[in-house]
């Protein structure tokens, strides 16, 4: 069948692998978004800007302080997360009793401010950031040349996704989180500091975005707009997976990466819209999303 479409199985394999790599970014980003939505009930529209910030912080660490890729992989998410925590304390925490809409609008505004500021100071053409030496080069897989860095992206994202999933679904801290997602008031009445948990969760979700940004820095252009359109796609991923579902975000992230990859072979023009088509279909058939709980 693939031969009929003029695509050899080898090429298809390659494309699927690339889809998986893209899916890695979607998975890490939508995971952060889902974690935040789960506990805060806020759609974090500044997620794309925070992803951009992760890449920029890595670049700044390198340019101004001389800190390289590996330390940045830890440091940049921490810094981005800390900025997120400030935002949560100053602004978001005042909105929890309101409709979802307000959180979305506030974070949308924050995204505009962040992107605008970076644009003012660093221009738009982007900054160079090289692949770390340890990961330069690549492997010839027979059906394609796989750059080492891309392989690392997949590994890193799987580790982070699995780690996050494990932390939330299998640890005591995660149990607090899940409980607070269901009934924050009761969890507070048990003596747990829910506001601090919410603050840290937001910081963590944002740090995930920052992490994705550092991962992206060596392969995509580090520029202020890099997250602007991505947010809409990641948003769709979370909705398809089921708002707030951790597993849903991860699986859908990788899955849609693959589907997008296939679209790029068969109908490349549509690769940016295919996710929305799927989102519309999913919402029509299973409105709570593929992995969402019906409530």
């Amino acid at each position: 069948m693939f031969e009929l479409l003029n695509i050899s199985p080898q090429v298809l394999m390659g494309q699927l692998l690339l889809g998986l790599i893209n899916g890695s970014f979607y998975a890490v980003l939508s995971l952060g978004l889902a974690v935040i939505f789960g506990l805060l009930n806020i759609i974090n529209f500044s997620h794309g800007a925070q992803y951009m910030m992760g890449a920029f912080v890595a670049w700044m660490l390198l340019t101004y302080v001389g800190i390289g890729y590996w330390p940045s992989l830890i440091l940049a998410p921490l810094i981005v997360g800390a900025v997120g925590i400030v935002l949560e304390r100053l602004a978001l925490s005042r909105l929890y009793h309101l409709d979802h809409l307000y959180g979305l609008l506030l974070t949308f505004g924050v995204a505009l401010i962040m992107q605008g500021l970076f644009r003012n100071y660093y221009g738009i053409s982007g900054q160079p950031y090289n692949i770390p030496d340890a990961l330069s080069g690549g492997q010839n897989l027979g059906f394609m040349f796989l750059p080492n860095y891309r392989a690392w992206v997949v590994v890193a994202s799987i580790v982070v996704c699995f780690g996050t999933w494990f932390m939330i679904e299998r640890t005591r801290l995660g149990a607090y989180l899940r409980a607070a997602t269901e009934n924050p008031v009761l969890v507070g009445a048990f003596g747990i500091n829910v506001p601090r948990m919410i603050m840290l969760t937001y910081g963590f979700g944002v740090a995930l975005a920052g992490f994705a940004g550092v991962l992206a820095a060596p392969i995509y252009s580090v520029n202020p707009n890099m997250g602007a359109d991505l947010i809409i796609v990641v948003f769709a991923v979370v909705v398809i997976g089921g708002m707030g579902s951790i597993l849903g975000a991860i699986v859908t992230g990788y899955g849609l990466g693959l589907i997008e990859g296939l679209t790029r072979v068969f109908y490349p023009e549509a690769s940016s819209v295919v996710i929305f088509v799927i989102m519309a279909i999913v919402l029509m058939i299973k409105p709570e999303g593929l992995f969402g709980r019906t409530s």
Binding site: A91, H100, G109, L112, I113, M114, G116, V239, F276, P287
Partner: protein, 317 residues
């Protein structure tokens, strides 16, 4: 049930006065400020008012209203340029197209609620955007350029800015008055009942989904009217008008002005369009300032400018 049917509410004196003052000001405006700019403000005011019908009075947040606004502007531009229709017919065609599109998307979207509703509308709007990007007649990212201004009813030339201004004034002001009428009609009262308590409205025997679809279609149609008119003013239709950030912008206008108020969206649109216009020299600061407005609006003035004023006056505005 039958005997408690909500009645049409007459226009309160205060609103009559405001509309009259507004109209008077608008008649003088083109001699004071640049008419094309004023026309742009009016188009966006109508767009925001149409959006507000859905969000503020219907309680439905659409995140894809650019589809109707921009879609209609393409159709109207095409109708005027290629089919050679007169401006009023071109606008009518665009509006109809938006209404049909709104009906189709709306009939699917209204089955979902809250954030899911917003997402469905966004998804369809992205598809419309994709179509606008791909379709032959839309001219890709160049858009449809050089749309003739034409002759109103085939008689009066709209080449002159002032003539065009009064044409646009009639269309948009008329549209806004019609929206006012809709909000204060029995239909609007039912909408209000649905927004406040949907299960109760259902138990009262209202076919809630039919009302939702109707308000969605109406909102899309008026958004289309605004978009179609804009295409005649600027003589072009472009991707900007169907992009998702346009959907975000209209939310901003409505929120800033005060959603669920009559005059809020008009004020919001005027403020945002003026900002974009007068801050154009400041480059990236425009986005930053818009962002700051969003943040402050959400934190401090959730009721919006007009909402706050209405609170002082203790009168609905």
């Amino acid at each position: 049930m039958a005997d408690t049917k909500p009645k049409t509410v007459g226009m309160p004196m205060l609103h009559k006065v405001i509309f009259a003052v507004m109209l008077a000001l608008l008649c003088v405006l083109p001699f004071v400020i640049y008419p094309v700019f004023a026309m742009k403000v009016m188009c966006f005011a109508l767009f925001a008012a149409a959006f507000n019908l859905l969000l503020g009075f219907g309680g439905l947040l659409s995140f894809g209203h650019a589809a109707y606004f921009g879609g209609a502007s393409y159709v109207a531009a095409h109708a005027a340029k290629v089919w050679g229709l007169t401006p009023e017919l071109a606008i009518l065609t665009g509006t109809l197209a938006a209404a049909v599109l709104g009906f189709l998307i709306g009939s699917l979207a209204i089955r979902r609620q809250g954030i899911y509703f917003a997402m469905v509308t966004l998804a369809f709007a992205q598809m419309v955007y994709f179509f606008a990007l791909q379709a032959e007649f839309t001219g890709g990212e160049d858009g449809i350029q050089g749309v003739p201004r034409g002759d109103f009813l085939g008689l009066i030339s709209l080449q002159d800015n002032t003539a065009l201004y009064f044409f646009v004034l009639a269309v948009t002001f008329g549209g806004i008055l019609m929206l006012y009428r809709i909000v204060h009609s029995p239909f609007g009262q039912v909408l209000k009942a649905i927004r406040e308590n949907e299960p109760r409205a259902i138990s009262l025997g209202y076919q809630v989904n039919r009302y939702k679809l109707m308000v969605f279609t109406l909102s899309a149609a008026f958004a289309g009217l605004a978009g179609a008119t804009k295409s005649q003013v600027f003589q072009l239709a472009s991707l900007t008008d169907v992009h998702w950030s346009m959907s975000g912008e209209v939310v901003l206008m409505t929120l800033l002005g005060g959603m669920g108020t009559i005059f809020g969206p008009l004020v919001g649109a005027a403020v945002i369009v003026s900002l974009q216009n007068y801050l154009a020299t400041f480059g990236a600061w425009v986005t930053i300032i818009q962002g700051v407005i969003f943040v402050l609006g959400v934190l401090l003035f959730r009721k919006g400018i007009v909402g706050v004023i209405a609170g002082w006056l203790r009168r609905p505005l």
